[in-house]
Amino acid sequence: MKKESKTSRYLIPAALIVCALAFIVTGILDKEVLTVLRKAAAICMECIGLG
């Protein structure tokens, strides 16, 4: 069986983490966080079954 190398074991998750951090920063700069806060800080009528 082909052994897993140290590089392949850690390189992909490391690249994904860097990519995720870049996405988060992009989202913050694009003010997506404000949309999240606006929705989360009020009672979500749809979520609690009141439409």
Partner: protein
């Protein structure tokens, strides 16, 4: 100090004159301190080293971890005491599991709800009224939810579906329900046991049904969380028509504490209560039906199972599979065979297999070699 508390709890200064609010703030700090203390004790006693403990001890640690994480993320006691929700700045952040942001105690936002909220947001400057039909055509403000997808990607890249196994509040609720001592629906998965069962055809039918139903969670993700909110109507479709977590953690507590909300209950409330009740009943007999067939968050995290930093691996040199041992496959409550595929998309990393292995050959963690120098296989066996 006072300003920090006001900022943290998202309340006005006048609220501090209310004794109930003061009591709630003290209770919140007490819960957070207690949870941190429990986590420190568990870490010091090496309780998170799954392989060092038997399955019984690990199940206890797992339940304590799940309960503590639920308490930590839902310890905004002002909400529980007064029937309101948290409106402070911590709600910029999403919690890792399915935790409704309308839960009175929730400090953070639900990732699936936030994803839909971003897709629902529209650009008023670009939206227009169709002259033919007279309808208002909303143009989405965001075509991709960088922030929420980035957060989920970060969590997924670090630990994959470990969130489902240890940190999700709705998973914890299903685990508690599954503890009700009745005969459980657990189908044999190896050919010999299927052939020896009383109704092999029926077993094969239900195994096939289970296999295909598991794809439903990807359909829920694509259709109800992404496509419908973005392209059809600006509604949080999944939260509105399916999510039982919102009803359990948000709807029931809020409606029981606010008469005005309870009076507004209607057919949608009934639909969501029916979905919740059905899942509760099924959870008594079948392990985590919501996580298996419905959860879009689990579907997202499952994509990271095979490439996350924290993975399950097999020390093939120690494993007794060749001698006929299948203790891990029989122990897995999600019906996965860890030796065949240690990082299956269906694995919620609950640790039951690693704790049940008599040879301690299942290695959850970040390493690619054992201390003895044996290779740890994280890929599917051929």
């Amino acid at each position: 100090m006072k300003n920090v508390i006001l900022w943290l709890f998202g309340i006005e200064e006048s609220a501090l004159s209310d004794p109930v609010t003061i009591a709630a703030i003290i209770a919140s700090f007490a819960v957070i301190a207690a949870v941190i203390a429990v986590f420190i004790v568990l870490a010091v006693k090496r309780r998170f080293r799954i392989r060092e403990w038997g399955n019984k001890a690990w199940q206890r640690t797992k339940l304590i971890t799940q309960s503590c994480f639920f308490m930590l993320t839902n310890s905004f006691m002002v909400g529980w005491f007064k029937g309101t929700i948290y409106q402070g700045k911590l709600k910029y952040l999403c919690v890792p599991g399915m935790n409704c942001y309308s839960c009175p105690g929730a400090w953070g936002a639900c990732p699936i709800g936030s994803l839909q909220a971003i897709f629902n947001d529209f650009d008023a400057a670009k939206s227009w009224v169709d002259p033919k039909t007279g309808t208002y055509v909303k143009v989405p403000k965001y075509w991709f939810a960088f922030y929420v997808i980035g957060l989920m990607m970060l969590i997924g890249a670090v630990c994959g579906r470990l969130v489902c196994g240890l940190l999700c509040p709705f998973g914890w609720v299903q685990d508690l329900i599954y503890k009700i001592p009745v005969k459980k629906l657990r189908l044999p998965r190896d050919e010999m046991r299927i052939a020896n069962s009383k109704h092999p055809k029926a077993v094969r039918f239900f195994l096939g049904l289970d296999k295909y139903l598991r794809y439903a969670k990807y359909a829920f993700l694509i259709v109800m969380v992404i496509f419908l909110p973005l392209m059809v109507k600006a509604d949080p479709w999944f939260c509105k028509y399916v999510c039982p977590s919102g009803m359990l953690l948000g709807g029931i507590p809020l409606m029981s504490m606010n008469k005005s909300l309870a009076d507004a209950a209607g057919s949608l409330t009934l639909l969501k209560l029916c979905i919740l009740a059905s899942l509760v009943v099924i959870s008594i007999f079948l392990y985590r039906p919501f996580c298996r067939y419905i959860c879009p968050l689990g579907a997202i995290y499952s994509f990271f199972n095979k490439v996350s930093l924290y993975r399950y691996g097999i020390d093939d040199a120690s494993c007794n599979r060749a001698k006929g041992c299948a203790a891990c496959a029989h122990a897995c409550p999600m019906g996965v065979d860890p030796v065949r595929d240690p990082n299956s998309l269906e694995c919620i990393r609950c640790g039951t297999c690693a704790a049940s292995c008599p040879k301690k050959a299942i290695r959850p963690g970040f390493r690619f070699k054992t201390a003895e120098g044996n290779a740890i296989r994280t890929k599917k066996s051929k």
